[in-house]
């Protein structure tokens, strides 16, 4: 059994990695390039 300090550190380490991976997944979603390209085209069309 790990001591409480080790447990706490492991929890933090796990959360940190999960946040990094989650952010990466969001980045992949947002940088699905055609999405933003098409949004920009739509905005440009509506503005002019």
């Amino acid at each position: 059994m790990k001591n409480p300090d080790q447990q706490q550190n492991l929890k933090k380490k796990n959360l940190r990695l999960a946040v990094v991976l989650g952010s990466f997944a969001v980045l992949v979603l947002l940088t699905s390039v055609p999405f933003w390209k098409a949004v920009l085209i739509e905005i440009a069309k509506q503005n002019g």
Partner: protein, 537 residues
């Protein structure tokens, strides 16, 4: 006898519905994933049997064409997202912490969330199927699982339910993948380096990264579809300056790696089953890891071989053709490693091993027809024919589903503490494998003779092979009732399973009682147990 007997002081568990709804225990969540997958498999299987019943003879007998198309769509989505992926996630939840000596998954609450999103997604998926039957429900989904626009933009509100179901399923997959990666990277027992990790864990590490890379792209694609349907955008509408082919690229950027997402966990199961029943270490552990990474990397960049007929440039189709064929090298290496593991082994053929051998034979067959389809001029002939249906069922049924069956039979005694009925399991194996081959082998001939896929009616010249295929489908489908019976029977009782269920088995999980205590590896395994692996040091 077990080195790590139940640690009773630590074996308290909640009771009643709270145990399952609020569960953060990897074993309970694994069990829920597996039961969910089994349930969905019967829904997906029932839709397949209806499809084959309709195709028993030419003409329209049982199903309205729209309902037929709806069933084709739902069969694929239920089987891929509802049955195979959750079943693989169930095996991962159960086995990964036991195999790496971790007390649980790294993020237990997120594990609970990942699972409980699934029933909500299943309800949405179910609604997408039934909504058209109600007044004002709109037309049925007739796009197939690929959801290509412009058809998917024209479908009624059931498509919206389907899009939200895909969003939920995607969120569940990504959360589960994050959890698995964090568990594998941070929670391994001291002394277990990555290159000492059991192969099942390696396959899931690669699978989880693949999921994080591709599922968000599908989510982006279907979100754009939703915008085109309701918010006046024209991402995929040629009339508004959009491009319907763009959706195909986004879909298959997800869809092709998804094939490896379905396959790799089962390859991981084989890497345990074959050494156990050959009583030899796994041949070429390092090359297996390398091959898997190669499959995942190359698999990410060959998606457009599903779209040869859209009119790409010669350079593009040549690239996608060569890339696709190159994948057969690392896949072949894995198969050769499995055969080399069996070579001169003291083999016995319990049910998991029977499935393993069937996978090697039939998956290789499916791989060979895949090489045929990868060749551009040939694919121009085979595209959208029953040959393609035969090909991907030969890849996915043996490659993914049989692997999961092998895993279930291999670990069922560990999970339940009871041995399954070997005689019944072998009957299940033979009816399943024979039924499968009767169903799908004739579909190669149908496709080569020119029968298109996804049609409710066909020319009378295709009647005989379709009849054979439908009879096979009934045998194949009904055989799964036997699986259900075997599983229930094993859960309820049977011969007591020992800690080390199989004589030739190695790994940390076999040092725990069968069934393992509610909480396991609260004390990390000792160094001596870490050397108990399938792999040569």
């Amino acid at each position: 006898m077990s080195t790590y007997a139940a640690e009773h002081h630590d074996d308290h568990k909640p009771t009643g519905w709270r145990r399952w709804v609020y569960s953060t225990n990897h074993k309970d969540i694994g069990t829920m994933y597996l039961l969910f997958a089994l349930t969905m498999m019967f829904f997906g299987g029932a839709s397949a049997m209806l499809i084959r019943a309709e195709l028993f003879q030419p003409g329209i007998q049982l199903l309205h064409p729209d309902l037929y198309n709806n069933l084709v769509t739902n069969h694929a989505l239920i089987m891929i997202f509802g049955a195979v992926m959750p079943a693989a996630a169930g095996l991962a939840n159960w086995m990964i912490p036991l195999m790496i000596g971790a007390p649980d998954m790294a993020l237990p609450r997120m594990n609970n969330l990942s699972f409980w999103i699934l029933p909500a997604a299943a309800v949405m998926l179910g609604l997408s199927f039934v909504v058209p039957f109600f007044p004002g429900g709109g037309s049925q989904i007739n796009t197939g699982w690929t959801l290509y626009p412009p058809l998917s933009i024209q479908v009624g509100m059931s498509m919206d339910f389907l899009i939200f179901a895909i969003h939920l399923l995607g969120i569940s997959s990504v959360l589960a993948s994050i959890n698995i990666i964090v568990t594998l990277l941070n929670m391994r027992a001291p002394g277990m380096t990555l290159m000492k990790m059991p192969m099942f864990c390696w396959t899931w590490l690669v699978t989880a990264f693949l999921l994080i890379l591709v599922v968000p792209v599908l989510a982006g694609g279907v979100t754009m579809l939703l915008f085109d349907r309701h918010f006046g955008t024209s991402f995929f509408d040629a009339a508004g300056g959009g491009d319907p082919v763009l959706f195909q690229h986004l879909f298959w950027f997800f869809g092709h790696p998804e094939v490896y997402v379905l396959l790799l966990p089962s390859i991981g199961v084989l890497a345990h089953v074959i050494p156990t029943f050959s009583r030899k270490p796994l041949f070429g552990y390092r090359s297996m890891v390398g091959a898997m990474l190669a499959v995942a990397t190359i698999g990410m960049v060959v998606w457009a071989h599903h779209q040869y007929t859209i009119g790409m440039s010669l350079g593009a189709v040549t690239y996608f053709m060569v890339g696709t064929i190159i994948i057969s090298i690392p896949v072949g290496l894995m198969i050769f490693n499995f055969i080399a593991t069996m070579w001169r082994g003291a083999m016995t053929f319990e049910t998991p091993m029977l499935f393993a051998v069937a996978i090697i034979l039939m998956f290789t067959f499916g791989g060979l027809s895949g090489v045929m389809l990868a060749v551009v001029p040939a694919d121009m002939q085979y595209h959208d024919s029953m040959f393609v249906v035969a090909h991907f069922h030969y890849v996915l049924m043996p490659g993914a589903v049989f692997g999961l069956f092998a895993g279930v039979f291999y670990w069922l005694p560990k999970w339940t503490g009871h041995m399954y009925d070997e005689k019944l399991a072998k009957i299940f194996f033979w009816t399943n494998v024979i039924g499968f081959n009767i169903t799908f082998f004739p579909q190669h001939f149908l496709g080569l003779a020119g029968m298109p896929r996804r049609i409710v009616d066909y020319n009378v010249m295709f009647t005989e092979f379709n009849m054979v295929s439908s009879i096979g489908a009934m045998i194949f489908g009904l055989s799964h009732l036997l699986l259900l019976y075997i599983v229930i029977k094993t859960i309820r009782g049977g011969k007591k399973a020992e800690a080390k269920v199989w004589e030739g088995a190695h790994g940390l999980e076999w040092h725990l009682d069968s069934p393992p205590a509610f909480h396991t590896w609260t004390t990390p395994p000792a160094a001596i147990e870490l050397t108990d692996t399938y792999e040569k040091p």
